[in-house]
Amino acid sequence: MINRLSALFLIIALVLIVRLYPFGELPNLHGANAFSLGFVILTGYLLGEILASIKLPKITGYLIGGMLIGPYLGGLITRASVADFQLIDQIALTLIALTAGGELRLEAIKKCWRGIVSITLSQTIWLFALGTISTWALITFTPWFGSYSNVAQWSVALIIGVIAIAQSPSTTIAIITETKSAGMCTDLALGVAVVKDVIVIVMYTCVLMTVGVMEQGMDAWEWIKLFALVKEIVFSILFGVLAGVCISYYLSRIRLDAILFLLAFCYLISIGAHSIQLDPLLVCVAAGIWVTNASSQGVELIETIEEGSLIIYVIFFCVAGASLNLGALAKMWPLALLLVSFRMIMVAFSTWFASRVSKLAIPSPRSYWMVFLPQAGVSLGLVALLHQDEFIWASDLKTVVIACIAINQILGPILMKYALVQSGEVGQHKRSRS
């Protein structure tokens, strides 16, 4: 630990010297980006290792590392650099989604499909209903939303209600990979995260249209948007299956430099999926599911990605940490803290309810619900769709959601790891595979 701490200080000292010493104007965006990314990787890794030595998840270290050196706190890397990491970040995300799909073995899911369905349904209904009502009750007393009309307050509550359902598949798979977990709880956590990802996207579109109707009348309801969404989901899955066929063909017949092929595939998905109205995450998850379940190359796929998984996670979560607008957290932390606490209670309740209804034999019922807490990019992506010119409360809503996600990003992985440790599934991955 002392070794890592001293290495961390040395790196930070080097960066400070370079940033503060008057070498003259050296405007070199290329150098600044590479320099910042190298700094992000080393700092994130070292902080992850330091936190791991006190039994905390490594990804929390990566996130904190990103926050500390990011433009909103330490200022050692600039906003422009963080924005330029978007492409590398997207490629990392698609690789994580491919892993998530690859880890979803239908054989294992068949054993717990009742659990996945009941937990997903229970969480979707309860979190949306209770989340909306409790958010409405809370925000009417806050200085930020109290002055808005009743309709606007309900609109905000409905949107936060949908976002409360969201769970981060990327954080879930990162914790599962880090802890090498395998078992029922793990399969449930991953299965529910992936299914909820699709549900939340559909629900969010419906809620956004409902909000439009509430604020602007029936003209705002556009069936075409809903059809476009359904089309996007169906085509993403179909395209994912096609991509899965290509990947399994490559891995079985050609094999040469598989990691390069996967990187090229993820790059093209990252840049191209949106332009042909496909969801990159869904495409990659579907491709991963196909390779694992419809071909014999599933293990090869996971092992190929795992060769570079650490660097993918470090970059992805460090950049996520650096991109987090901590100013939003500073502004709205009391409301965000309350909303996060309510969400935790609702997740615990809905998970308990589902397990009672479907009679699930969960190994650690008291802590199990914590595996559903992580939230990250999907929620941020959803609120980013709101426009100030359309809804006057959009900016305040974005701030509060970002603040909630900042808290969830720190707490979620820690609590999820704790729940997996309690369930006794940590370290079981290799054993179950063999």
Binding site: G24, E25, L37, I271, S275
Partner: protein
Amino acid sequence: MNVVLGFVILLLIGFSASRLTLFRERFSLGTQYLFLAGTEFLIIGLLAGPSVSNVLNHDALRQLSPVISLCLGWIGLLIGLQFDKKVIARIPLKVWMVGAIISIITFVVCYGFILISTPWFLHLFGIGFISNGIASQGRRVGISDLAFLLGCIAAVSTYSALALLKRDLDAKGDITKLLQLLTEIRSPIAVLAMGIWYCFNHPTSIGYVGILSGASSSVSDIGVFNPIATPIVHIMSGFEWLGLTLLLGYILGWLLHYLTNHRLGNNEMLLLLAGAVIFSGGLSSYLRLSPLFVNMIMGITLVNLPNFARSRITSRMLETEKPFFVIFMILVGAMWPPITPTVLLLTMVYCVARLGGFWLGSWIAVDWLLEPKQRTKGRLGWAMLPQGGVALAMVVDFALIHPGAIGETAIGVVILAVLIQQLIGPYLLTSVLKSYGDVKPRPNDVDKNGSSTNSRQSVEEPVL
């Protein structure tokens, strides 16, 4: 449309990879070498780049700039890691001297020939030349700088053609050994020369302001190369920049040693190597120093430190060398500017000058220093003609430090020259080795076309 084209390119990668795997042994020596040298990836990069399909567009290239730093740093570190003082001490002084003489003479011939003949040729054909913009109080980065760069790059060769002959034609003997040593020791000399040149021609030292000339083409619009026209004040001298470069390489070498000097998994080792290389490459680029040179110093420091985990670090680097090399070739291919008359003319001048420089250099060095049985004189130099990753890395390095039309022209020249030399290099090498008995033709193994059918080994040849 671009996305569709992107998927076609992806399929092309798969197809070329499968062809390479299944039928490589059936190709002629030259074609095999084109595959080995990663030429197909240069072409894929060109197809994916802004000049053709724009799948790797300007924004993407800017956002992938850390990957370029990583590749440059990786190449620099690998060159540096060869400089273990125990290994270096075993190389005879004569070989060092031969290497140095060949390098220096090739450099001088290329530098002089390009410097003198190019303006004359350009004038003769009525082609205007371009410079990197005019400094307010400094000097123009122009043809002499380009000549210096091309001279240094001319002195570099790649080992991969020799590796191919060793594998396929069972090349062995004194000349083969000598060529291998000469190829390995000459790259660091060229990187060192350019590294020092960058310190004494630092953008801040020469008052260079990176304003693009009007003759810029697509590559100069790429963010990576896009200089920001901000006046720069003179702060440090060339010696100070050199001191800083050496200090950075030394500190970063120690840092990497410190980070990797305990039990680590493969994944962690890769992360730390990549992180440290991107960090040092980016830091050097940020300070407008050479990432290749800084990382080479880092590698030299690392390899000569006590308790250096040679086997773990070097083997991990060599395991992952191929993917990085392929990505680098694709990105360089994407930066490939359109072939202009200037580029074409300069490429011809460069190739002819290099051929002459090698001939003269090896004639003098071998005649003066080597044993009679090794007196292959001028033709020995021609055996070292093939160029590859290091030459491309050096030109990209230049284009990042001194962005603009000169860097762009240099990229065009070096890519084209590398391709030409990849075509003729292996044949000249084979003929030299055959004439000195290091390659013995075996009628059963080699067919009429010169394609070999004997080996089906899956050896990973060094790609640099």
